[in-house]
Symmetry: C2
Amino acid sequence: MLKYLCYGRELGSRIQDLISGSGGFMNLVDYAPFLGLGGLIFALLLFYLVKKEPAGNKLMIEISERISEGAMVFLRKEYSILIIFITFVFGFLYLKINPWTAGAFLAGAISSMLAGFLGMEAATKANVRTAEAARSKGQEKALTVSFLGGAVMGMSVASLGLLGVGIFYYFFKEINPAVLTGYAMGASSIALFARVGGGVYTKAADVGADLVGKTEAGIPEDDPRNPAVIADNVGDCVGDTAGMGADIFESYVGSVVAAITIGAATVAGANALSWMSLPLFVVMIGLIASVLGIISIKVFEKISPQAALRYATYVSAAILLLASYFAVKELELPLGIFWALLSGTVVGILVGLITEFYTSGTPIIKIAKASQTGAATNIISGLSVAMESTTLPVLVISIATLVAYRLAGIYGIGISAVGMLATVGITMSVDAYGPIADNAGGISEMAGLGKETRKITDKLDSLGNTTAAIGKGFAIGSAALTALALFSAYTTSVGLNSIDITKASVIVGLFIGGILPFLIASLTMSAVGRAASKMVAEVRRQFKEIKGLMEGKAKPDSARCIEISSVAALKEMVAPGLLAVLSPVIVGFTLGAEALGGLLAGATVTGVLLALMMANGGGAWDNAKKYIEAGNLGGKGSEPHKAAVIGDTVGDPFKDTSGPSMNILIKLMAIVALVLAPLL
Amino acid sequence: MLKYLCYGRELGSRIQDLISGSGGFMNLVDYAPFLGLGGLIFALLLFYLVKKEPAGNKLMIEISERISEGAMVFLRKEYSILIIFITFVFGFLYLKINPWTAGAFLAGAISSMLAGFLGMEAATKANVRTAEAARSKGQEKALTVSFLGGAVMGMSVASLGLLGVGIFYYFFKEINPAVLTGYAMGASSIALFARVGGGVYTKAADVGADLVGKTEAGIPEDDPRNPAVIADNVGDCVGDTAGMGADIFESYVGSVVAAITIGAATVAGANALSWMSLPLFVVMIGLIASVLGIISIKVFEKISPQAALRYATYVSAAILLLASYFAVKELELPLGIFWALLSGTVVGILVGLITEFYTSGTPIIKIAKASQTGAATNIISGLSVAMESTTLPVLVISIATLVAYRLAGIYGIGISAVGMLATVGITMSVDAYGPIADNAGGISEMAGLGKETRKITDKLDSLGNTTAAIGKGFAIGSAALTALALFSAYTTSVGLNSIDITKASVIVGLFIGGILPFLIASLTMSAVGRAASKMVAEVRRQFKEIKGLMEGKAKPDSARCIEISSVAALKEMVAPGLLAVLSPVIVGFTLGAEALGGLLAGATVTGVLLALMMANGGGAWDNAKKYIEAGNLGGKGSEPHKAAVIGDTVGDPFKDTSGPSMNILIKLMAIVALVLAPLL
């Protein structure tokens, strides 16, 4: 505890030295890479803290190692495929754009992979230690361990992003700031594959485990006899942790790069550097604020786990806003910029709260009641809720966009996205905590740690579901603002004065952009279907062929299930990935730069709508089922419950595969367009 | 006031001109109203031909009268509510725009209602006569009767449209062609209420009849003991006939008015009249071509019913294209305009064929196979097909838009929509035939006409399902092109040089426009849910309380079911209707004319996508179920069949309520914007 505080103080005094040394507030931004490095060290320190916790008995360690191994096998395979893609794009950028952009692309891709790797390592260490803490030391300790595990991911994302952007900014701010777009594209490319691949992996395993294990064989969730249960736990790591991390890393880097690009393109003269450096200042502040927020958990967890996570986030947000206000003043920028930044922070909170309402408020009771007349009415009612739930978040984003634009022009849109994402160190930590708690529950079940332990992990898990819902809303909101910022950055850097939708080519761009999210949602949904049916067949086979499995005398072949999920995920991520990367290229070179702008706008609109519809719909179906399971409307095993289970299964690929893919899609296409800008 | 008096004087002299007659090809267009009147007389003649066919035995006449009565009761109630809306809008237009536009609005609304009324009258007469023809004279005669019944609707739509547009064009072409937009808005407003109201009506009755009658009570479809069966048949008329008619009437009038408006706004000088009159020429030719097509059925029906409907459509299209070519030449317009027109005709055919593929080709087998693992996989697979099915139609529409624009500018987009819709007299006839054949099947069942008769009506009905699928694709395609044309007309008439999506207000308009189809889809879906659950409760009550009903000794209280569907439909159509009409007004007056343009573009993109997704998805689920019922994968009553029935039930509000509402929504909003243009 004291160690953290001392570290923070030291950093602070060093910064003061630097101000007085180099004379000039603005030059502080040159130290961004060091702050990033410091954050990374902090993340490793957290990792060490997690790792030194006791990991429990032999069985627990064995299970945890199998999960960890499965996750790492998948990551290694995934990365080995991505290397082909990265090499190809690197070559293209090297030859067609410039070597530095190509290098930045490579760095961005590696950073994203590294963040994913660190986050997964930590998550797979923290899960078993959370279970053990719940068993031997109770809820408070279990919360600490799982949260610290999540914080490794959160801090890795924030620090690596700051490190990378900081370095390239330092070297290229005056020569060619467009190089930074390469870094963002690297982050984005990895993100798409990670999200789609991770999403397919986790759902194939989940559906396979549930459909055969729970429904057909009638054994409980997370039962060690179920061959797909390890794959399911691996899926939580690769989908919810690594996938989400890559998603947020992309938004984080994308928003900063967009704001810098807009600043570079729209402001001329000596003043330009102030505009360009503000986004970096804000994320530097955000990193420090996140560290303080993470530390504050220790204080708040005395109240309640829920309060701890919530207040820690608020502490960071308050610090960010206060310090940013002074940064804007110090850089002698118009105060409107601060209000634009504030609007972004507010959007992040509001979209999260709206998401929480639609996935746990009265709408889920409506769906639960509709289950009384069968599965069809459950589905209709769920789709209706899902579609309705798009309205408020989009209105909130729209209002924020208008406010930001009126107060600070296009730059305001960029800075509001940065304002939303700057405290990613803490928001991502809260988010990554959920899957760890979920995993801990699975391990306690498999290792037979008893009811009391399971009760604690269940409580942490259920809190994790709420934070996950809010986190998903946050991810979509940030993706929307980031995509808008990148769209603006594209417009300015390609030198278009307007993108005029009364031109046929632009409206056609808009239409084609509008199709893409529908097409990718379709591809990913059918991918889950295909992968899950293979998993179902395999689990059925094992139950039939492995003698003594049901009696607990023989072990299931978990490795085979992990293999199936891995292969399917890697195969299925290719088509959506290429579609997303190639569409802007094709439209840009055939219909022109303005039509490409139309494509980005169209994809952003339908992408955000589908993302909200699918994430909220999936969450609502899930909780409608849980509402019935809590004893309402007939409870578990009743006809309404059966209908609700069908709704939940439909919602699975919605909320964990297709929906999240939309976030990446809209950002990635905008980034590709931005990188291509010099060629158009 | 003086301005209006001057209009009045001009009007007087025009009437004199028309009577004395003046030479020149272009003046032929002045006779459009007479041609419209002629078409209307032809429609009445067809009506007479239908009516003089024998109506069968006493029971059949009684059933048919109950359906006809139910339909008319609904229409009367609906129209009496619409009068309030019409009065209000009339007053607004009278005071804020000008009295002539208000008058045109009134005329448009009355024309649409009249077309709906005539079509329904004919449909409810033709259904029983088709059943009788199938019983006593065989398939060929049954096809003739049902097709002629549909043709009354087709010709009414085409003729009333030509009559109305022709009259207002004649009087206002040189003074103030914007008056025509009032006529289109009248048509549009009625269409929205008719589509939403009709859609809710038909699905509430359908779900009620199926869920309790077929599933719970285990009696066959269209069994006279089922209290909701008459309401179900009424629903076919008010939803599929009147609703579809109002939809197409709106597209027809909207496309012509858009093309005229673009011509008036973009071409100056004496030549302007050639550009403005071409759309009217094309629909005049289309009307004659449709009459010839309808007559040609008599020749082709010797081959097969399928060939008859298809070839008759092709004959009309060929005549249209040939004669339009000469009209373009004669008016000394650039030949590119003809190719734009051709592109519209081709789009109509292609979108129809793609729809046919997705609702009856390999995709339905994919859904059927997914039903083997349960309802959840059936739904996921269906949604995946539905989303995928948006791609090709939108690409086709995009290519046509590009071609039309390159060849003839914005005007080309308008004229391609006209080219698609000019032969509406025949395409709508083919479309309206389906529900009549469906109804005929119901009547033969209820009246116990025997297996042979039912076989004929089933064959005609199944052909009707295909034409309905193609017709739905056509309706969406035409709505998309018409909306684009209206959007272009709006841009030109509001005097915007560009609609620039790099401006925050425009991108916000785009987002808000994007929400509306999702919100209205949600509203209409939950409306069906609410209405259906009331119907289910009522049918259950009757089966329980009316003694001897199951044994066929007592009659069900059908009137009560009709009442429930009517009240629900009328109540539920209000919110979506007001939302569609008021959104453009609010955005236009708060965010400005350019943002309103963004709203139209956003609504068109997501509206077309959702329309395709919902129509094709619903059709595919329906046919996947039928595929299993045909004996595949276990056939009727098997587990896959049960899963497919759930998918079909989800698809019902998709394809018959929410999906079709999208078509109207996007056109109506564009029309409202166009009418408001002078105020912005």
